[in-house]
Symmetry: C2
Subunit: 264 residues, 2 copies
């Protein structure tokens, strides 16, 4: 499995590519598809020497329509040619042939092909099956939103299915679906203790975990073991704002600092 | 409110634009961005004389990357120039500035600007606020996934928040957020009785309801009153497969038949 190999060689750190209006302004770039392209290529360049994984946030490209998607295609292509694994943070979710179409966009051979995508489970876990199948076929990974890092997710994610929390139900699906190829992972935010999200370490141990919330959102990379216990081994911590806000001259140093925090 | 005015003048029927592999084959079109464009324009042309609303399914364009988005931009632009209201069926969901970026893509002035978009509530209802704000500003509508029409959504959507079902909690959010401008609607599938989705008529009465599941998925347009009771008044029934599978020569007749079923 690609992400396991990267973790064991280069380390698990993932750098976000978020060409938001604020970040583009901080970098002195135009708030346009061209600006998003320039930012994306600069982050890829800084990341390529230091980490193994990048995570473009699709929304910030999508706001420029097809021109933004063309920029994103270039960024993804260059990142992969630099041997970076790409997690398309798209949070797509639908059913049947529509879900398969989203998975085709991001995981099958084509201009947006990535090594992983994030998906949303609101339309049911079985509905994600077409994406899981395509991930199996292409050796890619699907990260299912489970317990996200924003505080206002609690109302929905504190829901229960029978006696089980919704996040725990989703984690059970990932565990059941992943044996062997480990192609289904979870998005589990690092901004609060697992138990507050209705998750136990047993729920997630051995499952690949994409963990946003580090850096600007408040969690510290040094606290991964305290937060995830025995499940820490498979955590991919993702940092975005704290790195991007360092600007073009500071991004390399900022990534290096995060690597040190992780003991890399 | 645009959708209320359309319902009262032309009627509420919405035609899906789903350039899936199967549909493109049925129409004798290539499985490509060009094929998707041709299908989209043909559906818009057939819809423009007969209904007030179309709903492109973004996934089927996205699978062709930026070329697919360019096709979608053209389809949306032509549809709006033909005075059709466009519901971008994107099912986007994220938090904070990322959610705002998705809303900017689909609801703000730009190449993909539509009259409404569908969003997913998995990251919390407050997280949808940036999209609701933008909808308020631009006179657009946000349809929040609530009780979807696929049977396998039940495991997630049968979850409860306190003593309230998750769909009922979401419906309360839409009701609270919509007074006056009615800019927040719900996606409520028509394939099963409301009570099975954990919804009552009181939960949804007065809220704009995008209702897929008619035609090929099994629900009948003549049964809207039986299904939605007093909430029928604000239902936008959406048909896709049953119309698209009629092919280029049969689509007009198929739409006309559905209009008759609705008494239009």
């Amino acid at each position: 499995m690609r992400f396991v190999a990267i973790r064991d060689s280069i380390g698990p750190l993932c750098i976000g590519i978020d060409p938001s209006t604020d970040v583009l302004e901080r970098w002195g770039l135009s708030d346009s598809a061209e600006g998003a392209l320039e930012l994306g290529l600069a982050v890829v360049s800084a990341a390529a020497e230091r980490v193994g994984i990048v995570k473009p946030q699709v929304a910030f490209f999508e706001r420029f329509g097809s021109a933004g998607f063309a920029a994103l295609e270039t960024v993804i292509g260059v990142a992969r040619s630099e041997k970076l694994a790409v997690i398309a943070d798209a949070k797509r979710g639908d059913v049947g042939t529509t879900m398969r179409a989203y998975a085709t966009a991001w995981l099958a051979s084509g201009p947006l092909q990535s090594d992983a995508m994030t998906v949303s489970p609101y339309q049911g876990l079985e509905a994600l099956e077409p994406a899981c199948e395509l991930a199996d076929e292409s050796g890619a990974t699907v990260f299912v939103l489970c317990a996200t890092s924003n505080p206002d997710a609690r109302a929905v994610q504190s829901a229960t299915v029978g006696k089980r929390s919704l996040p725990s139900t989703i984690a059970a699906f990932a565990r059941g679906r992943s044996s062997g190829s480990c192609s289904v992972g979870l998005v589990v935010g690092a901004t609060r203790p697992l138990v507050e999200s209705g998750l136990s370490i047993d729920d997630i141990e051995g499952t690949l975990l994409l963990a946003p919330g580090f850096g600007a959102q408040g969690a510290r990379l040094g606290d991964i073991t305290a937060l995830f216990g025995a499940a820490s081994r498979t955590v991919i911590p993702s940092v975005s704002r704290s790195v991007l806000e360092s600007g073009p001259t500071g991004i390399g140093t900022a990534i290096d600092e995060h690597r040190r925090e992780l003991g890399l």
